[in-house]
Subunit: 220 residues, 2 copies
Amino acid sequence: MEQPAPVSEAAARPARRRRRSVEDRRRQVVLAARRLVLREGFEALTMRRVAALAGVSTAALYLYFADRLSLMAAVADELFQGLLAAFREAAAAAAGDPDPRARLRALMNAYVRWGLAHPDEYRVIFMTPITGVAGHRPGAAGVSAAPSGQATFALLQEEVARLVGTGVLRPADPQVVAEAIWAAGHGLVALLITKPQFPWSPREELSRTLADTLLRGLSA
Amino acid sequence: MEQPAPVSEAAARPARRRRRSVEDRRRQVVLAARRLVLREGFEALTMRRVAALAGVSTAALYLYFADRLSLMAAVADELFQGLLAAFREAAAAAAGDPDPRARLRALMNAYVRWGLAHPDEYRVIFMTPITGVAGHRPGAAGVSAAPSGQATFALLQEEVARLVGTGVLRPADPQVVAEAIWAAGHGLVALLITKPQFPWSPREELSRTLADTLLRGLSA
DNA sequence: ATGTTCACATGAACGCTGTTCATATGGACC
DNA sequence: GGTCCATATGAACAGCGTTCATGTGAACAT
């Protein structure tokens, strides 16, 4: 339809064309799910609602995803790009700052701000027991594990490694340090989301104190 | 039955006796729910299963609790005592240490260790959107907000205040600092529980790095 | 002793969930 | 034109939280 192939190649085509179509539909489902989260929140992310919004039957979802968590993993991978964009933006904004720690601080702040600004998306990505983007139903074995997520963490990890390498931060395993920073940021976002009735100090102050303390503790 | 009151007081008694009985039942339900979590994990905590184990009908639960979250709040209050005990134990163990920061460090480590050792209980307490111990059905308005939880956080907050007061930690609002420490610890536990497949560094190393970094950043 | 009242308890139902499966359907190949 | 097979579906299953009309039995008044 898109490109009328020679008849001689027609034998090899169908499989490809079919697979293409399947992946298109799969992607369409993921996008519908994303729209659902953005518009109606985390709780709206049910198989029936996603199917209805995507215009397919509920059972059809199980042709593209092993189960609900696999679908959510695919959605998470999509949502990650929002956080990734915020990361890149923060890093760019801190480019001119003379303080070598500015970029790392900007990443920390961007993470917390993004999480608090997008709690429903944050819940999908970081507060749901998701393994990574699992493969289609027949393919059984899971495939690529959330590339966007890895890219995002890599950004943090590389920045830490850079600062350790240049001696700005005291000698340490960048992997461990990056994980610790991530954990600290996640804890703040997650607790504020889960326990909103706790008498929290102002969020700005809290976020600043956490980032400052970590940076001070890590500095050489 | 327990104490045959004079007939003249009989008019006032029933209400009291009845209330007592109701609270006993309520407590019995909470204990059944706790046993369920301990033995079968977080997912087993359903209204039907709790009711069955407590020996009452499912509908009866709604006489004692407004909804499922209220029941879980009561269970959380019960589970908190485990963490509180771990906190007290850790504080006592650090009593002889010459380092004035030893107790705070011990609290941080105890928190993370307890959470990782009791993930199902941790999920009930800290990873479920719970408001506090809500009142009975008719009473409508919620009552005491998780006393054990408050006591636990108070322990951390007081220790921070003590160290700030003695000049061991740099001047800061103990409330903000305590919240930040809590958030950091929570993040580590929560992420390890939610994303067990992530290629984490060894837990001991992670926990130590996080605690050391925070202490170093907070020290005067 | 009898009648009345009312807090407490329940079985059954409602609408929702994730998931499975027998049954179509329709295009690709022989 | 007939066969096959990937794709799609409606219906069903078991479970969930929650509600409500219906008991039931002890406490009180007469």
